[in-house]
Point group: C2
Chain length 353, copies 2
């Protein structure tokens, strides 16, 4: 690897809707060369593309309401909330405070939204830079993001063109011959971070150029590929929101949950029983099903019922499904509970693999 | 802002326990100058400090068990788990897969732990570089971390010396006179990311130098300041873990939860009632207390009891506390539920501020 340089592009000035951002960049940086990575702050891309929303310039409920409406329109789903602050997933798949809607570095009568399609913005800028100056650069559109677990923000790539966004070391050997099995470096995010070191927040330096970075060119790529979503996302909700969701699941747990065919994980039923202070007998047990007989004081049947629901919530917390019939039997005054794996999950043991 | 350069330090070679890492760096980079930021991969710091654990070189259960023991010893608490993969918070406060315990770029008979105190490691390296070569540099100790919501890893700072870890723009004006109220840039993380662009994973280039970055010198600083923990951490648990915790709370919800004096948020009780399909009457309501009379079929009292617990879980999901007495009253065959704010929380309205 050789040295790289990160150079601020000064003199771009204010960017207004309809501006030819590529022309502003090539005029301010006539030294652009093939293989450079041009990192552009999303805010100037948004301004050039007219992604602006008018709002009352004076602080107050009307300004707040206009801002809330803008955030709502950019939000696909809320991830976490604290007081008036919302962390949301945007329509792009990005997880951001206030959906990336920003009041800084813009006239007080305007809000800036993120570009509608930052990868397309990056591709268009790249093509236009090539048309204007003949140089073949990669383009990264950056934005500032907070992170769980760590104080402070860093810049990351929300759009990219002409560069493979991830450098994948998986399957390759290290210097000791060990196979690297997890390392995928988000190089476009590291480029955005490096560029931020020369851009600053309060100065009008919205563009920086990284020279000397040997990247893999890509006609496709795009920062969209960095969005981790669906079952791969282990942090789809804030802790308070997920905990409330667990409580809601307990509140709405139906009597008749479909039971699957998977084998019950060793000890899981016992673990759930130990969580709840109530009397219960095991009537029968196989690898896939356990039938329980809840006990309790026959003079306090409502309490027995509440404890049955506690027990079923404990089973659910352990990843188990249960059904309850309250039909009293000869020997089972409060009915029986049947426990199995949730339908659609092969087995507890396999889930752990 | 002016240009900065990021330069790999080549020729350091293998680092062994007891090695004088500062000497290896100053020998390989005799061009080090005042104001440079030396970014050192944590792995070579750990190797020099002897933070190594022997383990059986052959794949198999013994190697896995030794690795698990090493992870356990580095773990303060488990944040999330998926199959055999654990994301944990280490004793340093860092949230990392496998507690940062690493098998790559080391002999197969050894595991590498993170440095015990990476800020102290950075400070010691900085002092020793100054003693050896007379130059005053900042030192960042970096490690590779995954991120929620985004594919791929980036390098971040786990230790730092001689540099303020965060650049704080809060309270300052932007070019439009808006006050920047949230921006705190984690500059040491951006420096680690920039350095990673020239270090690579598979090559033996564990050190890079950033020159030209105008940072705030700090005698204290330290990357420890970047750890966000406690109530500020909105993602203390994985979604599955927090949801299971909510179910466990429902399972263990006592009858007699202490009620606080805060005002109930408008509509919160109604919202919770709407979640559960059961009959319930409001006996009395004030700003701080609502008393409910659960209904139900008197011939199926256990079911009424289960529905009472469902309702209390729904109230808890809405952030409300409740007590239940199953003492039947004249008009209340299944007792009464009293709802309030949890003790210690001033009011629902204030919580939203």
């Amino acid at each position: 690897m050789s040295e790289l340089t990160v150079r601020p592009v000064t003199g771009i000035g204010d960017v207004t809707p309809g501006a030819d951002l590529a022309a502003l960049i090539t005029d301010a940086a006539p030294w652009l060369a093939d293989g450079d990575v041009v990192v552009v702050t999303s805010k100037v891309v948004s301004k050039a593309e007219g992604r602006l929303v008018p709002l009352p310039p004076e602080p107050g409920p009307e300004r707040d309401a206009a801002r809330d409406r803008a955030i709502d329109s950019e939000t696909a789903r809320v991830v976490a909330r604290r007081g008036p602050m919302r962390i949301v997933q945007t329509h792009h798949g990005l997880v951001l405070a206030a959906a990336g809607v920003d009041e800084s570095n813009v006239d007080r009568s305007l809000l800036v939204l993120l570009p509608a399609d930052p990868d397309a913005s990056a591709a268009a800028l790249r093509a236009r830079i090539r048309a204007l100056s003949g140089v073949d650069v990669a383009v990264v559109v950056s934005d500032t993001m907070g992170r769980p677990w760590r104080i402070g923000q860093t810049d990351v790539a929300i759009g990219a063109a002409g560069i493979e966004p991830v450098r994948d070391y998986r399957g390759g050997p290290d210097a000791y011959g060990n196979i690297l099995d997890v390392t995928q470096v988000a190089v476009v995010d590291e480029l955005a971070a490096a560029a931020d070191l020369v851009k600053g927040k309060a100065e009008q330096v919205p563009v920086a150029v990284v020279r000397g970075f040997r990247f893999t060119a890509s006609a496709e790529g795009g920062a969209r590929a960095l969005v981790r979503a669906g079952p791969e996302d282990m942090f789809a909700l804030g802790t308070a929101e997920a905990r409330a969701d667990g409580l809601r699941r307990a509140a709405t747990l139906p009597d008749d949950v479909p039971l699957g065919d998977g084998d019950l994980p060793q000890g899981a039923v016992e673990h759930a029983l130990s969580m709840v202070d109530t009397t219960v007998d095991v009537l029968s047990a196989s690898s896939r099903r356990v039938t329980l007989r809840p006990g309790g004081d026959p003079r306090r049947p409502a309490r027995a019922g509440a404890d049955i629901h506690r027990l079923r919530a404990a089973l659910a917390a352990a990843g188990l499904a249960s059904t309850w019939t309250d039909e009293p039997g000869a020997d089972a005054p409060f009915g029986t509970i049947t426990v199995g794996m949730p339908a659609g999950i092969a087995s507890g043991a396999e889930r752990r693999q």
